[in-house]
């Protein structure tokens, strides 16, 4: 029973990592840019939902939808303002800019929202306590993997079955050539940022429902962990991000469950995994071998 409880915990945490990791991986796949501001976009998404729910009294699904839409817009604006001017600059410049955007959002958050954490209400549907014998599970813990699966299916549909997806896939192969083919790359990139940021908002909101507090620095650790998950799965690959997220979530939970005296090293574990995968299989679980 105990093992089953831990596996459910791992599945939920892993699904949350996966939701966030997908946004990382999509942007990387197309622009070869690690968008370090992704975790902070997530934070903004949570605050938007929080304001929607507490100040305007929106039901949770409306707050979620509204937050996803506005966060998508934020993602597009960040791309326009910070990354697009650097499209032709060396990759490292864009990376440093991403870190700058991350700090900007964090500290703006501290100024605008204040440093004190805010309580995030968990909607009734996710707050049911299900009980079988000794096993007690929050309904949210079961919903999260389901919702992640649905979102991933939708995303895979967009990527493989629509014109936008085709353009995205082409762009990830060769940005310059695609431009020559008459595709408006800026629009495709903007769409990628919009999708990725909306997913970050969704991931963040479910994260905040599971761990019901939000603060301006809440995105830092999930952001870093999701980055590790994306690399584990093979950065640039959406299915890989899902696998990486689940693997990381499971590993973390099981480490603490089986070796409780090592619980303090849980974050270290994620980064040890990152170093390990970079040494032994840099392309990740699902990644393609990169030609030189």
């Amino acid at each position: 029973m105990d093992a089953l409880q831990q596996i459910i915990n791992g599945l939920t945490l892993g699904s949350l990592y996966a939701l966030i990791a997908i946004g990382y991986t999509m942007v990387y796949g197309i622009l070869r840019l690690i968008n370090f501001a992704h975790g902070d976009v997530l934070m903004v998404g949570c605050y938007i939902a929080w304001f929607g729910a507490t100040m305007f009294g929106l039901p949770w699904w409306a707050a979620l939808m509204g937050s996803m839409a506005l966060t998508a817009l934020l993602g597009v604006l960040i791309d326009q303002g910070a990354y697009r001017p650097l499209r032709k600059a060396p990759r490292i410049s864009a990376l440093i800019t991403a870190i700058g955007v991350s700090f900007l959002l964090e500290n703006l958050g501290l100024v605008v929202f204040g440093g004190r954490p805010k309580a995030f209400e968990r909607p009734e549907i996710f707050n049911q306590l299900l009980q079988w014998g000794d096993l007690r599970v929050l309904s949210l813990s079961l919903w999260v993997p389901v919702i992640t699966a649905l979102i991933l299916a939708g995303l895979l549909f967009i990527i493989h079955r629509t014109r936008l997806g085709m353009a995205m896939r082409a762009l990830s192969r060769d940005l310059v050539t695609v431009q020559l083919m008459g595709i408006d790359t800026n629009r495709v990139v903007a769409a990628t940022f919009a999708l990725g940021s909306a997913l970050a908002a969704a991931g963040g909101i479910f994260w905040a429902m599971k761990y019901p507090q939000i603060n301006p620095l809440m995105g830092v650790l999930p952001g870093l962990k999701a980055f590790v998950a994306a690399v584990l799965g093979g950065i640039g690959n959406v299915t890989g991000a899902l696998l990486g997220g689940l693997l990381l979530g499971m590993c973390e939970i099981l480490l603490v469950a089986w070796l409780p005296e090592l619980a303090g090293y849980r974050d270290a574990l994620a980064f040890v995994l990152l170093i390990g995968i970079l040494i032994f299989r840099p392309s990740g679980i699902m990644g393609e071998e990169l030609p030189e």
């Binding site: 105990d2 409880q5 204040g114 440093g115 973390e252 939970i253 409780p260 619980a263």
Partner: protein, 372 residues
């Protein structure tokens, strides 16, 4: 945006021009708290309360007090850097702060090096002042706090067995857990489980499962925000029904808001409570704070208020801003009528009462006061 920047610049220049024109040279005191970072919530409470203290007492030795606020970024390395900056650049005569024990442990040696008195009102870990000549504290020590918690668990809650759940990344939490264990065992109790987590963790299922398996009668959780209320919520969701016993860092509005119904019944040891204020100074402070900020005072703020007043009291008795004279005066603080109760400084540490509170009907309610 540029207009705002220009406005700030002009203000800054005006301050520069106006500064030296003041009649008496101000007494500069460094004030080091976490304005940003994970502990910013606490820093805000402290800032409000010390600002209130300064409006009550803005002069010492006939000179105005200038508080130079510096941000520790909730980070021990930044705290040490800030002490360096306060002493080297701002030429402060003494420093009030920093907040967490970890920050104090990093900042203390810097103050020692420059021979400037550093007075923390919050760092409760015993190591903070150990072997230091210039580092003092005006809050009680964790050896005392852990002991108070253990006696309460053993005698008031009648617990035979206890579990420890501690934040291994904080000196504060590790110290308290150690002293609780020592005292609880000495009083005939048994620690049946110990589990660790770190700052920033949000998932505590595995640790709580391990504790649940041992079925202790009480769980000692000397945690910080925001982990603490998350832990208690997850524990209740997992079906743990034991009472939680916590320490001073848990006394914040967020514990109640984030914890909701789950933190109902939580006990904690702390420095100050409005209802339990045993002195006129304490009751007056509570009234002033409510009037100024429209809500009740919190312990961290009351501690800062006392720290500020005790430091000014020492400077007054020293009769000068000479660091050695301030150090000597701090060491001879006896029964200072602080808002948290009578405070004496013995061997760099404060001796003062502790308060035990319990969360009832979504509020912290006074249970009892324990004198040293």
């Amino acid at each position: 945006m540029t207009r705002v920047a220009r406005f700030v610049l002009v203000l800054g220049l005006l301050a520069l021009i106006a500064g030296p024109a003041a009649a008496a040279e101000p007494v500069k005191i460094g004030f080091l708290i976490p304005v940003t970072g994970p502990a910013a919530a606490y820093g805000q409470v402290i800032l409000e309360s010390v600002t209130l203290a300064q409006t009550k007492l803005a002069e010492v030795l006939g000179r105005p007090v200038e508080l130079i606020t510096s941000d520790s970024h909730s980070d021990r390395i930044e705290a040490a850097n800030a002490v360096n900056r306060l002493i080297m650049r701002d030429k402060v005569v003494a420093i009030l702060g920093p907040m967490s024990s970890s920050e104090c442990l990093a900042a203390g040696p810097v103050a020692e090096k420059f021979r400037i008195p550093l007075l923390t009102a919050w760092g409760t870990n015993p190591l903070v002042t150990q072997g230091k000549r210039y580092v003092f504290r005006t809050c009680f020590v964790d050896t005392f706090q852990g002991q108070v918690a253990a006696s309460f668990a053993r005698h008031n809650l009648k617990a035979q067995t206890a579990a420890l759940l501690l934040d291994v990344s904080r000196d504060y939490s590790v110290g308290l857990a150690t002293f609780f264990r020592k005292s609880f065992v000495a009083q005939g109790g048994k620690i049946v489980a110990t589990a660790n987590y770190s700052e920033g963790d949000q998932e505590f299922g595995p640790q709580l499962a391990a504790i649940k398996a041992q079925n202790p009668e009480v769980i000692y959780l000397p945690g910080y925000l925001p982990e603490e209320p998350l832990i208690i919520r997850q524990a209740r969701e997992m079906g743990l029904t034991q009472p939680f016993l916590s320490a001073d860092a848990a006394q914040a509005d967020e514990t109640l808001k984030i914890g909701g119904a789950a933190v109902e019944g939580l006990y904690l040891t702390t420095h100050f409570d409005e209802q339990g204020a045993g002195s006129e100074a304490g009751r007056q402070y509570a009234r002033d704070y409510r009037q100024a900020y429209g809500r009740g005072p919190e312990a961290l703020g009351a501690q800062g208020y006392d720290g500020y007043l005790i430091l000014l009291d020492a400077i007054t008795r020293a009769g000068s801003t000479d660091p050695e004279a301030i150090v000597a005066a701090l060491e001879t603080t006896r029964d200072f009528p602080g808002v948290c109760g009578a405070t004496s400084i013995v061997d760099h540490d404060a001796v003062k009462p502790a308060v035990i509170l319990q969360v009832k009907q979504g509020r912290f309610q006074y249970v009892t006061t324990v004198n040293p």
